[in-house]
């Protein structure tokens, strides 16, 4: 199954990755090359096979409900592109 340019635009928006119109075809060709490889598995009959999500059959461990974290805002925000009054700043969010 191969992708179209429309698919590329749709998934690029979903993935929030800008693609220059000039690059679209190159990107599409690369994606289709990989999808060709992926397509190889379509022919396999997997009826009745249980999907495998994790390498080992173990279950979730639980933590006790204890507050273990202290405020480290200043250290965390040292990496932030824009902060003010302890808030991360982003272009206006429109509700």
């Amino acid at each position: 199954m191969s992708l179209s340019l429309d698919d590329v635009q749709r998934i690029a928006l979903l993935a929030r990755i800008a693609i220059d119109p000039g690059e679209e075809q190159t990107v599409l060709d690369g994606l289709n090359r990989v999808m060709e490889l992926i397509g190889e598995m379509q022919a396999v009959d997997t009826t009745g096979i249980e999907p495998m999500s994790h390498a080992l059959d173990v279950t979730q461990r639980l933590r006790e409900d204890v507050v273990s974290e202290v405020d480290q805002r200043a250290r965390y925000q040292a990496n932030a592109p824009a902060v003010e009054n302890g808030l991360y700043l982003v272009p206006k969010v429109i509700e």
């Binding site: 994790h54 933590r63 006790e64 204890v66 507050v67 206006k92």
Partner: protein
């Protein structure tokens, strides 16, 4: 035209846990921005989630309380979308395999009792908050709330009016507080409802629905649904078409309005979160939780009714678990005759005092036992209602039990009839004029004489007894 209203409700209840669902950061409300956003909450590279046991326990409690199936194995999934208040770019939620499946809730409306079926309840994490005050044309992001544990409770489309929707929301609100899994604080966003509203002609397939968000009070919920139903019916009756969309209720204008529906048609790309393993809940754990659960509202209500209370009266004790506990503890060992009066004392004077001082039932200055003894003293004629109120106030101020106060203040009603007769005789002798007036047919004079007797006994005489004796003597 006859339209049927179909409503399904999704509620996000913030679970009563000290720490977040996947991190050790505090969930306390009102901290300075981002001071309760840990490395996991702000999604630093390399951090990983570990599930909070208390959150799971809350979900199990809820499932048991609504008679649902607790799935022995449930799975966390990622719901992928970009938003500045969603630091990982995905929300961890349960999708195909939620922890709670089915169940139902009984609600009380003007038409009587009704059962609302639940589809499911699943665990998920809350997002942060975008603050829109102007930061030079930018928005500010506070991630303190990110990762707060939520239980999303979803109903079947069993709700058919705004009134029923509110009754459901109130019943659910009472239940989650009752079983201690949510503080129910709607102002702080601990209990949030969304309503999926559609209308259809009877027996027609389901109509196009609108999801109304931001229903942060019961009143807004009622108004929003009423507005939305009217809007949908108007459009359909004008021959128009509805679009499936998310609408926001604006309480200032009392209307719902569409939220950016054009932006990418949501494609959340759910898949099982590889950082979390399947959640297994053992039979033993469920039994343990069951054992730790308080008696449920239905059972409590039944007990109150068994004490002979009317449904309305019984309901007044059901506003919280503590309230019903207090009432039942007061009723235990009380004489059957005293129960209606005890009930009135609890919902009346006692509740008024608690409200006045913002106290919970558990903190009441008058215990259920003290109240029971007070009412017993009214029943046996020791106290008049008026005197009882004085004793109650004294008890509230910590002067001790009713009997001690009665003793100390000499509040006992004079019920020794020879003593009362003696006083009546003295009063009749001293008020010849009134006696004459009464015998001449002036009824008012009788009341004046009673007043005199009461005065002479300093109010301790039983007015009914005085009445009887006086009438006998005057007719003699």
């Amino acid at each position: 035209m006859n339209w049927e209203i179909v409503i399904g409700i999704e509620t996000h209840a913030q679970l009563a846990a000290a720490s977040k669902i996947f991190s050790g950061a505090s969930t306390a409300y009102g901290a300075a921005p981002n001071t309760q956003a840990s490395a996991v909450d702000i999604a630093l590279p390399g951090v990983l989630p570990v599930l909070n046991k208390r959150a799971v326990e809350c979900a199990i409690k809820f499932g048991l309380a609504v008679g649902a199936t607790i799935n022995r194995r449930s799975v966390f999934a990622r719901k992928n979308y970009f938003y500045p208040d969603l630091p990982k770019g995905y929300q961890i939620s349960q999708y195909e395999l939620p922890i709670v499946k089915g169940g139902s809730l009984t609600i009380l409306t003007k038409q009587g009792e009704k059962t609302v079926r639940l589809t499911r309840a699943h665990l998920e994490e809350d997002a942060g908050k975008s603050l829109h005050e102007d930061f030079h044309g930018m928005s500010g992001i506070d991630l303190n709330r990110a990762g707060t544990p939520l239980l999303e409770i979803v109903t079947e489309p069993d709700v058919h009016s705004a009134e029923e929707a509110v009754a459901y929301a109130k019943a659910l609100h009472a239940l989650v507080r009752w079983i201690d899994i949510c503080d129910g604080n709607m102002q702080e966003g601990s209990f949030r409802c969304d309503a999926n509203v559609s209308v259809r002609k009877p027996n027609a397939p389901l109509g196009t629905r609108a999801e109304i968000k931001n229903l942060n009070s019961f009143r807004f919920m009622e108004q929003a649904i009423q507005y939305e139903v009217k809007r949908q019916i108007e459009i359909l009756e004008d021959g128009g078409k509805l679009v499936q969309e998310t609408r926001l209720y604006d309480p200032d204008r009392d209307e719902t309005r569409s939220m950016r529906s054009k932006e990418d048609a949501h494609d959340y790309r759910y898949f099982p979160d590889p950082d979390l393993l399947p959640l297994e809940v053992s039979e033993a754990w469920i039994e343990q939780v069951k054992g730790s659960m308080p008696e449920l509202p239905q059972a409590r209500y039944g007990k109150l009714i068994a004490y002979g209370l009317l449904p309305d009266q019984a309901n007044q004790h059901m506003s919280s678990r503590e309230s019903s506990t207090f009432a039942l503890s007061a009723f235990t060992g009380a004489s059957r005759n005293d129960i209606p009066s005890l009930s009135n004392w609890i919902t009346g004077p006692l509740s008024a005092k608690l409200n006045e001082e913002s106290l919970e039932f558990a903190q009441s200055r008058v215990t259920s036992e003290q109240l029971r003894r007070l009412v017993a003293r009214i029943d046996d004629g020791t106290l008049s209602r008026k005197m009882a109120k004085e004793v109650f106030d004294a008890m509230w101020s910590g002067e001790g039990d009713a009997d001690a106060i009665i003793e100390k203040r000499g509040l006992k009603q004079l019920s020794d009839s020879t003593a009362v007769e003696k006083i009546v005789d003295e009063v009749l002798a001293a008020n010849a004029k009134q006696v004459e007036d009464y015998r001449a047919g002036k009824a008012k004079a009788f009341n004046a004489l009673i007043g005199q007797v009461m005065k002479a006994t300093k109010g301790k005489a039983n007015p009914q007894q005085v009445n009887e004796i006086l009438r006998r003597k005057l007719s003699g």
